[in-house]
């Protein structure tokens, strides 16, 4: 097992300016977080998602991410653009300038925490399949804009890897692997580390900055954000509901068929018994599966993913509300003092 430890302690106020660097002397790793943020600021707007490649290396039991580069934005007219080619090219160039060029995962921005999707699962699986230590970094720009950097690293659990490898998304397969929405992904703790010089600079900046600069964090308005979250949550719930209905129909038809099958077998047996008593040869065995084709089982992975997504939303809402409550109490206290 691998632990991602993006080294070092956070600065006391984990503002957006803190950088993810690695202790290795030759790296300019403070970029990584900054670069991801910059990438989003430049290219992503609204619900659009930006992606890129993480580079780094494994040190002892840590994965150190020291650099990254973005995937270019796709447009309609360069459909023949070869992404793999581009990546290879990029990495080769980086090696020329003596930067860590080992592929250790990828990053993606998210819109209100909606990232648990089939696409993410598939690509993370292929990464993890090829390079075992791969991680996906999820960057939430909206939360970051509200004053707290939101960066999370995820990996697929070995169980899920197993399932993905076998491509068995049936109910039984999932049950056997005992995969639930809560153990699909494992979150890897992140430690952002800066070089000492930068830390010193940060401290200094911190000291100089006025209270007003930190007001962003104290914003009391919470309605719109929560509304958005609820909206998304509702959409997912709807999907979930539909999925359940689908599954319900399936299991009903399955049980009905089972019954029919059972009846058929019984009738067959009776008939055979009669024939035997009359001394006739028993009827030839027929392939039951041919007679009763089992209905197509709906893939359960989707609902699992939806459940995972709902879970994430709930987490987000919970986190957000608890923070907000704190803020509100604080505000109340302050008001009481003032008056």
């Amino acid at each position: 097992t691998l632990h991602l430890k993006c080294a070092s302690e956070k600065p006391p106020f984990g503002g957006p300016c803190s950088t993810n660097t690695l202790p290795l002397p030759l790296s300019q790793q403070k970029w990584v977080v900054m670069k991801i943020i910059k990438h989003y600021q430049e290219e992503g707007q609204g619900s659009e998602v930006v992606q890129g490649v993480l580079l780094g290396l494994v040190v002892e039991d840590r994965l150190e991410i020291t650099n990254c580069f973005p995937f270019p934005q796709h447009t309609e007219d360069d459909a023949d653009f070869d992404e793999v080619q581009y990546q290879m090219e990029m990495m080769r160039s980086l090696r020329h300038v003596n930067i860590d060029h080992l592929h250790v995962g990828w990053y993606q921005s998210t819109f209100y925490g909606s990232f648990v999707s089939r696409a993410l699962l598939d690509s993370q699986f292929s990464y993890q399949h090829a390079i075992e230590e791969s991680v996906v970094l999820i960057y939430d720009p909206i939360k970051t804009a509200q004053g707290s950097l939101s960066l999370k690293a995820y990996r697929l659990t070995p169980k899920l890897m197993e399932i993905c490898k076998e491509k068995d998304f049936s109910t039984e397969g999932l049950k056997k692997a005992s995969v639930g929405y809560e153990n699909m992904f494992e979150e890897v703790p992140i430690v952002i580390r800066n070089s000492h010089l930068i830390n010193v600079l940060l401290w200094e900046l911190e000291d100089k900055s006025t209270v007003a600069d930190k007001h962003e964090l104290l914003n009391l308005s919470s309605g719109s954000h929560l509304e958005k979250c609820l909206q998304m949550l509702m959409d997912r719930v709807d999907e979930m509901s539909q999925d359940i209905v689908k599954y319900n129909n399936y299991s009903r038809s399955l049980s009905k068929q089972q019954q029919q099958k059972h009846q058929y077998v019984q009738r067959r047996q009776q008939e055979n018994a009669q024939r035997q008593s009359r001394g006739e040869p028993p009827l030839p065995e027929e392939d039951l599966t041919k007679l009763f084709k089992p209905p197509q089982a709906p893939p359960r992975m989707d609902s699992l993913l939806i459940a995972g997504q709902i879970n994430t939303y709930c987490q987000t809402v919970k986190e957000f509300t608890s923070q907000n409550l704190g803020k509100l109490f604080m505000a109340e206290a302050l008001q009481g003092q003032g008056s």
Partner: protein, 908 residues
């Protein structure tokens, strides 16, 4: 056919027609034969004779064939004929009811049953029978058994003394005329009479041969002479026969006939030459048959010197009428002929009885003029028809001693001038009803935007006048049933007309220049009073449901048209027509739809917006208002409607002058929908599942939204949509200007008789509803609003504002309270915020999710049912469990046994 002159009695005409049936068989080319044969068959049915004779002859013919089939044991034929017989009997039910079941019919039934039973018993014979016959036998046997149950007593009577009834019948037949036995010419009939027997032998053979010859030299005149010779001899024959049966009249006719023949033949010779050239072969045949040539000799209807008296004229009339309905008959000429006859009878002062009879027939032939139902009368025909009916009514009014009726049989008519009152067969009511229908048809078929339509519409006054006169007449003389019918006609001509005169009187505006016409008009009864009187009579006296239904609907319509909303509504509710109108026939349904629409419009005028909306909803929401009101056909592809259906639908259309303005209807509907929907939408903005009051209105709104460029409104719909948008913002002034302006006035509002009042009502409604919308939409912005401000904003009086707001508070639509001293509305702000609404929605959705999940869970548990009827299923489950227990017990017992055994074993 010249022999027609001899039609002293009905039987003769039958004779001739049966003879006719033979003739073409023997002659003509194959093609012609077929054509004529069918024609002739029709003729035999069409020939005018007393209904009784006609029906009975039909029956006897069928009976005869059945008896023949019985003789040769042809069961299939028997069955077929029997079925026909039953049908024929059913047709002649009216006569049978009057006369009693004819004995010969009973005899056949009894005989047939016996015969069948006999055959049935005869196992040997049955085996020999072929399959078809056997099958027919069994089904026939069943049929006759069932059928005879209705005639049990009669059959029993017959079986008691078969001789007597057989004799009776023979006597009767003899008395009635030889027609039945005569038609039995092809053999040993039931009652072959001696003097009849010689005829079939004598007659058909020479005739046929002559005709054969005739066909060979069609063109030659000798043919005609030959013909006449035959007819001549024939007619003497029949003449002598009729002498036996009939009295003086027949012999008189004979003399007349013989004389006539002379003159006629001469004429014919002259005419023949040109006619020959003109007429086709078919025409030739017809000429021989008689309709057309007679017409040609019109001026000399009666031979000179003939004493013209009533029987002669009646006979003549019958002659002319016999040609009626035949294929080649010149219908126009026939009408002329009848007119001439009328003139002659008047000349000779034959009395009003005969005049009435002729008039009846003239009108009937006028109706007959058009061969099919779809075409309408020509204007001149129509005029003639109206004149004729008017004259007829004149006669009837002048002579109160004329009795007319459908139920007066032909032979019991008394037309002669005597002390006795006249009795004439015929039904004036039917004629007038037909006239009314013809009028409708004419109106349907005239282009409604032409001057012609206006001209035709002027006749409506005459039609109404005739109906009025008939109404007076029947009120004195007719049965209640007839009175109901004529009342309904009157109602149908009244209900859709707006009574401007009364309206004006009610409004207190007397016409300044009181012309004579006006005065005359105002002397008449109020249409409301008339409607009331007529309808109430129908409610009380009518026994057919249809007339009453129509009367009620018309009454409601009339009430609604004159803004008597409460009467109209109460009548509609009391009639319970909504429940069973779908079982009515299409015209009544159309009338119902029209009434509902009128009711809705009436409600709108009275400011009952909700009622208006409800009444119009059904018609408008289908999008087929035009079709439902019978005001035009919708374009549809041929799959849904073939040509035949289209014709039928066309016939149902309401004439243009009775139309309800569809734009007005739609506008009224949309405006009422707007007044209901906009405040509702504002009040329920955040509801998860908002239902719509009016789909159509929403549709219009969506259409309006989709418009890429929003110009000033053009059509009525655009106006309403624009107004709705303004109202949504609570901007009543803009809304008002969109609903009531020049364009809308000319398109819609001016069509109301009380346009100004309606407009005032509308403005007020718009103000009120805008106020409500405003409060719904913007109450969250206010902490409190002064009512005075509101009153000023919406140009309403303070008490009105107060009442509207109070109502909203009571209905819990507005979370606020009134502060009396300051006259302000204080908002409570208890409406959930959008976030709270969202959370509520989410909770609802989660509930659904849980429910669905429970279902899956239930399935896993082996309960095949949903979460909700779990209790029921629970019982089932318990039972299962119980069974399982039993099984377990059994197994246990087994185990016990095993244990026992093992115990035993161990003990050993």
């Amino acid at each position: 056919m010249s022999r027609f002159f001899a039609t002293g009695s009905d039987s003769e005409s039958e004779e001739s027609s049966s003879a006719e049936e033979i003739t073409p068989k023997a002659t003509g080319t194959a093609f012609n034969k077929n054509l004529l044969l069918s024609d002739d068959e029709e003729d035999t049915k069409r020939v005018v004779r007393s209904a009784k004779d006609k029906r009975f002859e039909e029956l006897t013919n069928l009976i005869k064939t059945i008896r023949n089939a019985m003789k040769i044991r042809d069961m299939a034929k028997c069955l077929e004929e029997f079925e026909q017989l039953c049908r024929a009997f059913l047709k002649s039910k009216a006569i049978v009811d009057k006369e009693g079941v004819p004995p010969f019919y009973i005899r056949l039934l009894a005989d047939l049953e016996d015969y069948l039973n006999q055959l049935w018993e005869d196992k040997e014979g049955k085996k020999k029978m072929n399959k078809n016959n056997a099958k027919a036998l069994s089904s026939l046997r069943q049929k006759i058994r069932k059928y005879n149950r209705d005639f049990e007593t009669e059959i029993a009577n017959y079986k008691e003394n078969p001789e007597q009834s057989a004799e009776e019948e023979e006597e009767k037949e003899e008395a009635e005329s030889g027609s039945y036995s005569e038609s039995e010419d092809d053999g040993e009939g039931v009652t072959a009479k001696s003097f009849m027997k010689k005829k079939p032998a004598a007659e058909p053979a020479p005739e046929a041969s002559k005709f054969l010859k005739g066909a060979a030299d069609d063109e030659s005149e000798s043919d005609d002479d030959d013909d006449d010779e035959i007819w001549g001899s024939d007619s003497t024959d029949s003449g002598s026969e009729s002498e036996d049966n009939e009295g003086n009249a027949a012999s008189l006719a004979l003399a007349f006939l013989k004389k006539l023949r002379r003159s006629k033949r001469k004429e014919r010779a002259e005419e023949e030459a040109e006619e020959e050239g003109l007429e086709q072969e078919g025409g030739e045949w017809e000429k021989v048959k008689g309709g057309v040539p007679l017409v040609k000799e019109k001026p000399k209807m009666f031979a000179k010197g003939t004493e013209i008296n009533i029987p002669v004229v009646v006979k003549k009339l019958n002659e002319i009428l016999q040609a009626r309905g035949k294929k080649g008959t010149d219908r126009a000429a026939q009408i002329e002929l009848l007119h001439a006859l009328a003139a002659i009878s008047e000349e000779n002062n034959l009395g009003q009885g005969i005049m009435v009879k002729i008039k009846f027939n003239i009108i009937a032939s006028l109706y007959d003029y058009n061969p099919n139902l779809a075409t309408f009368m020509k204007p001149d025909m129509w005029k003639k028809c109206l004149d004729c009916i008017d004259e007829l009514l004149d006669i009837l009014f002048e002579n109160s001693n004329i009795f007319i009726g459908e139920n007066i049989a032909e032979d019991s008519e008394s037309l002669a001038v005597s002390d006795q009152p006249f009795r004439v067969r015929g039904c004036i009511l039917t004629l007038v009803e037909r006239m009314d229908e013809e009028f409708t048809k004419i109106m349907q078929n005239t282009d409604p935007h032409s001057q012609e339509y206006v001209d035709n519409l002027k006749d409506e006054g005459r039609v109404c006048n005739i109906i009025d006169r008939l109404l007076q007449y029947l009120e004195n003389k007719g049965s209640t049933e007839e009175v109901c019918r004529v009342y309904l006609r009157r109602i149908m001509h009244t209900y859709y007309k707006f009574d401007y005169k009364t309206h004006r009187r009610c409004m207190g505006i007397q016409g300044e220049s009181k012309s004579e016409q006006d005065q005359e008009e105002s002397e008449g009864e109020d249409s409301a009073i008339i409607m009331d009187r007529l309808c109430k009579f129908i409610y009380a006296k009518d026994r057919t449901d249809r007339i009453r239904t129509c009367a009620i609907l018309c009454h409601i319509y009339h009430h609604a048209l004159h803004s008597r909303w409460y009467q109209a509504r109460d009548l509609m509710l009391m009639s319970h027509l909504q429940d069973n109108i779908q079982h009515a026939d299409p015209p009544v349904q159309i009338l119902y739809n029209r009434t509902m629409v009128q009711l809705g419009i009436c409600a709108f005028r009275q400011g009952m917006i909700k009622d208006a909306h409800n009444a119009l909803l059904d018609i408008q929401s289908s999008g087929r208002a035009k079709e439902l009101l019978g005001q035009g056909l919708l374009m549809r592809n041929m799959q849904e409607r073939n040509a035949e259906q289209e014709k039928i639908e066309k016939r149902r259309q309401v004439p243009f002058h009775m139309h309800i303005n569809l734009e007005l209807l739609e506008c009224v509907y949309l405006v009422s929908a707007m007044l209901l929907e906009i405040p509702y939408m504002a009040a329920h903005e955040f509801d998860a599942r908002r239902r719509m009051i009016s789909k159509q209105f929403h549709h219009q709104l969506r259409v309006g939204e989709r418009q890429p460029l929003l110009g000033p409104p053009e059509s009525m719909r655009e106006h309403v949509v624009a107004a709705s948008k303004a109202m949504k913002m609570g901007d009543w002034r803009t809304c008002h200007s969109f609903i009531i302006n020049e364009k809308m006035n000319s398109k819609v509002w001016d069509l109301f008789p009380e346009a100004q009042r309606v407009r005032e009502m509308l403005v007020r409604k718009i103000q009120e509803e805008s106020l409500r919308t405003y409060l719904f939409t913007y109450s969250s912005v206010y902490d409190s609003i002064s009512m005075e401000t509101l009153a000023e904003m919406f140009q309403l009086e303070l008490p009105t504002v107060h009442s509207i707001i109070s109502k909203m508070i009571i209905n819990e639509e507005l979370m606020a309270s009134l502060d009396q001293p300051t006259q302000t509305v204080v908002m409570h702000r208890t409406e959930p915020t959008s976030l709270q609404n969202m959370a509520l929605q989410l909770a609802e959705k989660l509930g659904g999710l849980v429910e669905n999940n429970e279902r899956v869970f239930d399935l896993k548990q082996g309960v095949y049912g949903s979460y909700f009827n779990r209790d029921q299923k629970g019982g089932y489950q318990q039972k299962q469990g119980y069974q399982r227990d039993q099984k377990g017990g059994y197994q246990q017992k087994q185990g016990y046994r095993g244990g026992y055994r093992s115990q035993n074993q161990s003990s050993y």
